[in-house]
Symmetry: C2
Subunit: 641 residues, 2 copies
């Protein structure tokens, strides 16, 4: 490929990228594919002779796109957002074209310096404590910001730094004990809602970790942490680290840093705060209440490739005392920090090489401005709250955990199995994609806003699909398990829902429900074939990171409990003071009646008092057009100079 061909193919790929985003809704968010399918599509060996790039591009559709999950799809509500802003793509073209390596300051000065600058920029506009700033921005600071690949790495390194800091302190107290004995005395803590990477990091770092059970909101209570510390100290262990969370993977719960921070200070423990997802929203003043207590934090991370529209991999990582990060891994002494020469950024991580990652972040921040980042986060937060309203109005469902950021975790009331069946059917339909998680003993579905220009209509479409499939699943379930007393309450709610639907009589919804019935039947058939060994392999079930190390038996315990105590399925468990069951169904009826009186095709109202999603949807084509227009308007606003 010579320059002239790169020009031609490069233009083509730029055009293709635009077309991909504009026609994304014609695709399904999740492919229907079995493990190993690609082996039958591509050659078994690398080609001996080079192939023209045109040919590689021709393979894009059949080889890659056809069986790809589309993270930017408007009905992709899985995991967390994965940024792909145009400005970020541009930044990476530049980094790739120059092909530089910021392995140390001298190897490419601008790599190191721009990275420090964008970290300082973010530190300031996210309202992070000043002690994370570089010496250039704040001469009295001893901290540093760097860009790691991922939150998992940031968390792992913070544990290593804390471990080495603790060992150094212990060596002073116990100069005669060997290092291994000192290491063996250490214990770290984390909220059980933390990502599984904390546990993996502890395994890699040979660290003893105790996962603490959060409260009903998903945060760690001061007493929980304090009691664990006391108990472990009595056993001769030395607490040295706690990983707090703001915006957990499962339900975006948050720890109160004031509570855990005070304790960490009291026991001289390193407090890390994982704000991988939620941290971007700190750009908004109204979200700063979550940050109370950040002055206790020793290190923290925020993924700009999650909720700041930046492409992988760009996870901001700050440390309060850079010497505590760099010294133990280099054998250096603090001496080196007295010069204005920044320590090479590679000393904060395992990799020695360094892609020029800062450039794309620099492009994204400048192109959107802090204002644009705020607008983007607020839109997701508002839409998550809108979705929460829909869930709360439907008394078959319950919301799990507080909805503070761009995610709402919800479930069908009753047995976990009902929620799992619902999610399986939804994903099998490929009309929407969501992944499960768990909160305490309950299986939940994570509804995470991902598309950059998500809007209310997307929420309405999603809710309608969920609503329809819930009806089908519950009716099916009742047929199978009519005598299941644990689910009786939920069947009654479904009957009530059916009565309301009968009043409304929307032919479009009726048609979609029939299609959903068909989908559920197909899924059951597929599952039976798998059980009979006709289809080999495991189904393409998408599970979340936090789910990995979960013990599925734990979740069955809840179902077992409900079967043994069917009386608990009444509102004693589901009771929500804001939406008592009766008021809820009244509200539901009222809203539906209100809606059916409107003309079909009316767009739902504003976020202040949104109309329910029951409004008959506009056709897919026109929806796409509206979405595209809205996206164009929104994108245009970003460039507004």
């Amino acid at each position: 490929m010579d320059a002239s061909k790169f020009k031609r193919c490069g233009y083509e790929l730029v055009d293709w990228s635009i077309k991909y985003m504009e026609t994304l809704d014609d695709r399904k968010p999740l492919p229907d594919v079995q493990p190993g399918w690609l082996w039958d599509v591509v050659p078994k060996e690398a080609p001996e002779k080079g192939e023209a790039f045109e040919r590689i591009m021709r393979d894009l559709e059949p080889v890659v796109l056809h069986r790809m999950a589309h993270w930017q799809h408007r009905q992709f509500f899985s995991y967390f957002p994965a940024g792909n802003a145009w400005s970020s793509i541009m930044g990476d073209i530049f980094s790739n074209a120059t092909g530089v390596n910021g392995t140390n300051w001298g190897s490419c000065p601008v790599c190191t310096e721009l990275e420090i600058i964008v970290c300082d920029w973010c530190c300031k506009f996210l309202g992070m404590p000043k002690f994370f700033l570089s010496q250039y921005s704040c001469p009295e600071s001893e901290g540093a910001g760097i860009i790691q690949h991922s939150a998992s790495e940031a968390i792992f390194y913070s544990m290593m730094w804390a471990r080495e800091d603790a060992v150094r302190k212990l060596r002073q107290r116990f100069p005669n004990k060997p290092r291994a004995i000192l290491l063996n005395m250490l214990i770290a803590y984390c909220n059980n809602e933390c990502h599984s990477c904390v546990e993996r990091g502890s395994l890699m770092g040979a660290i003893r970790l105790r996962k603490l059970e959060p409260d009903n909101e998903g945060g760690i209570k001061a007493d929980t942490l304090r009691n664990a510390i006391k108990q472990d100290m009595e056993s001769g262990l030395i607490p040295f680290y706690h990983c707090a969370i703001i915006g957990s993977t499962g339900i975006t719960s948050a720890d109160d840093l004031m509570e855990v921070g005070e304790i960490c200070e009291q026991y001289d423990m390193w407090l890390h705060c994982d704000a991988a997802y939620a941290g971007s929203s700190f750009a908004c003043q109204e979200m700063r209440h979550c940050m109370q207590g950040y002055e206790y934090v020793w290190s923290t991370n925020v993924n700009t490739n999650k909720w700041m529209m930046c492409n992988f991999e760009a996870s901001l990582h700050w440390v309060r005392y850079k010497s505590k990060a760099v010294d133990p891994m280099t054998g250096w002494e603090e001496e080196v920090y007295k010069t204005p020469y920044p320590p090479d950024l590679k000393h904060y991580a395992v990799p020695a090489t360094r892609r020029f990652r800062a450039y794309k972040l620099w492009c994204v921040i400048r192109n959107y401005g802090v204002e644009g980042i705020r607008r983007y986060c607020r839109n997701h937060i508002n839409l998550a709250k809108l979705f929460e309203k829909y869930v709360k109005r439907d008394d078959r469902f319950e919301v799990c955990g507080p909805v503070r950021f761009g995610l709402c975790a919800f479930r069908l009331k009753g047995l976990n199995e009902a929620t799992s069946r619902l999610l399986d059917a939804l994903n099998f339909s490929r009309r929407i994609h969501m992944v499960p998680s768990h909160f305490h003993e309950k299986v939940v579905i994570r509804f995470a806003l991902c598309a950059e220009y998500a809007n209310e209509e997307d929420i309405d479409v999603a809710w309608r699909v969920i609503d329809e499939f819930a009806s089908v699943i519950l009716r099916e379930y009742e047929k199978e398990m009519a005598n299941d007393v644990a689910m009786k309450n939920l069947y009654n709610k479904q009957h009530h829902h059916d009565e309301l639907a009968a009043i409304r009589k929307d032919p479009k919804i009726e048609q979609e429900e029939r299609e959903a019935e068909q989908t559920v039947a197909e899924l059951k058939q597929r599952q039976q074939m798998r059980a009979d060994g006709v289809i080999k392999g495991i189904d393409a079930v998408a599970v979340d990171g936090s789910w990995d190390r979960g013990d599925s038996n734990v979740f069955k315990e809840f179902d077992k409990y409900l079967h043994e105590h069917p009386e608990e399925t009444e509102d004693k468990i589901y009771h929500d003071p804001n939406f008592p069951a009766k008021a809820q169904s009244m509200l539901h009826l009222h809203q539906i009646e209100d809606t059916v009186s409107h003309a079909p095709g009316t767009a739902p109202g504003g976020s202040g008092a949104p109309a329910p999603p029951a409004a008959p949807p506009t056709a897919v084509a026109s929806r796409a057009a509206t979405a595209a227009a809205s996206a164009a308007a929104s994108r245009a606003a970003v460039d507004d100079e």
Copy 2:
């Protein structure tokens, strides 16, 4: 930025990338810049309002490029190559545009599957053992290939896997000993020529590491490893891991895997082979002799972003038993591997997120074909050998270590300080960029081929600059240290060199030498100002990764020794059986006489019997034109379908 602006700016950036590569020789390989310069150039805070992308692009030159090291420059011979093939840039545009996350198989099936496929492709064409293939390519294999960010990570993970494997085995033997005690019994080894990342990995992984002294060729002798093992076992330690190297960072030395492999097998130790740089050349049949003994290897890594033209970050990593990698970090049992469902690739590393890195590698391999990769490696190897010939013909210099791959490590004979002064002056001139390393007690200069389309003319230009600066430095040095007996021999060689130059009388070279004298004078002035405190901060000295943890006193020891034993500076030390001093200088004289009889402007001969670089250079402009033509021809050949 909306789609239409992305189209416009995207086209512009594609054009810009081409122009950047075509006009790269008008820039200097290394910028002249002091730490912190960027703080005076960019705003202190992120902009509140978004900026048009055109404005961000206007800042490319003054903010970024002006003070960037240019890794693709034809006179950039530092570190190792950093790939930026057009096809790789294209691959990343696609990955970024779709913005997917291959966190697990289900989250984007093609991410996982294509990664496994390209790893299998590479495993095959690099001649790696079959046990590294996936089950899809080789049903009886229990191995796996993945793409990590960097060699450092691959090495770190391999140490962790080995550690956990060892601990599991030890637990069976000593069921009553606590884990920490078992950990404390373990000891790992590596060649002292290994990258500093091995030591850093051992610190992170709480592993005791012993670095072994290599032989004169930079490899570990069987006896060295065996003796260390025996000694440590007598002290009650348990050897569990050895990190071998093929293509070390400093001098691209290589271990004999047959020798160390047998010992590792005997003591049941995990053998990792770091082939980060050199591994790409295994595509060439004639390089496979380096791979003898690979059947003993349990894990290995090859960076396609080093010597396979792929952009960061793409480091191939293979493991022989995938269960040994995945189980200890997940708590899984081998059961899971019996299904055809591949284990999620995130389980082989710390990060949970996964950029679609395989796609760019897929593009590069298909576009060049294995043939193109071979052609590229061979060109670098031939040029390194050509450079080696130039060094060997000049009896002021010596080659350090064998030249097998695309690097030649060399130095001025005599004191380390002379070589350091030479390199400082060369880098200060910005006419060429190289970094130092060390081999045993000697400071060496690494001449690493980096530019994709490097050619013989680049080597000639580089050698002429080195030759001229060596003359200036040695004459300067003699003025200062006329009575330094340790250097007397070298001064004599310089006098001889000057006599030859007087015979030749090339006005162009004389002019360039005068400029070099000026540069050296400026450098001395700058150093004096720094010593006087007029200039603050540390100079922008580029050092190599392997240099990091080196103790500078070690290198002074050699100088001290030579001062105390000036008789050693005679050919007893420099003796090279292939090029005895006399024959060498005769050859030198002969070649020069041969050349001056040719017309000026003649290009040097082929690699078989290359003419020396003393041929008067063509003008810079015409050089660039020749290089561009050669590059175009070479690039075009790649697309040959």
